[in-house]
Amino acid sequence: MVLKNLIDLLFILMVPGILGFIFILPFGMFNNTIGNVSVNGYEDVMNLPFFYWVAVIIGMFTYSMMLFALWFLKKSARFFMDNNLLKEPVSRNLNKSGLFFIITAVGAMGSYMAIWIASFDDSGVSLQYGSNLFIPLFLAIIGLFFKMVANTLTNARLLKEENDLTI
């Protein structure tokens, strides 16, 4: 249910992005705001606003969670090579990987929120639409999908065990 709603939400949010191709690209409307922010942040790193620091710390946490997710996915992938999908470690590690992808998604969303709040000081409150929002949503969808696949594989393994012990 949550997975379906997230997929719907991501789709709805991404559709208006098509307008960007139609209206922005032909006119060559680009800006270098990101470049400026990066340079200013580097020069004055000790005096960053509080929420930028929050964003940096959450970003580091999110990055390590993503590494954990990939580590568990890697452990599952070993069994994919031998076509041993119904082994217990596959579903266990895939489930853990999904959980860490969900934590990564929440962390990434928190990091973007912190940057958004920090930008209030510079330019006042503003609503922004951009691809930054899609990444946490996509990560959450991937995480939930992995958990769903892990659950399906667990059920399949139990059914196979039962079938093997049917005389």
Binding site: E161, E162, L165, T166, I167
Partner: protein, 66 residues
């Protein structure tokens, strides 16, 4: 498990070896061993029918609810 398999007793009463029964019923010795040890999760009606036919007994003689 509350269902007990009474196959060993009937086999000794009939003086039939497990290997022979497996051959008559058409299952492997390994599967018969799973059944005799009570590790089986389910028994097909066709297997039960073949065992009853081979041992000339009723399903109730093989399976017992404890």
């Amino acid at each position: 498990m509350p269902i007990e398999i009474n196959l060993d007793t009937i086999l000794s009463e009939r003086d039939i070896k497990g290997k022979e029964l497996a051959e008559i019923v058409g299952i492997t010795e390994a599967n018969l061993s799973i059944l005799r040890s009570g590790k089986a999760k389910a028994v097909r009606f066709s297997t039960l029918e073949a065992i009853c036919d081979a041992l000339n007994c009723q399903p109730g003689d093989i399976l017992k609810y404890v």
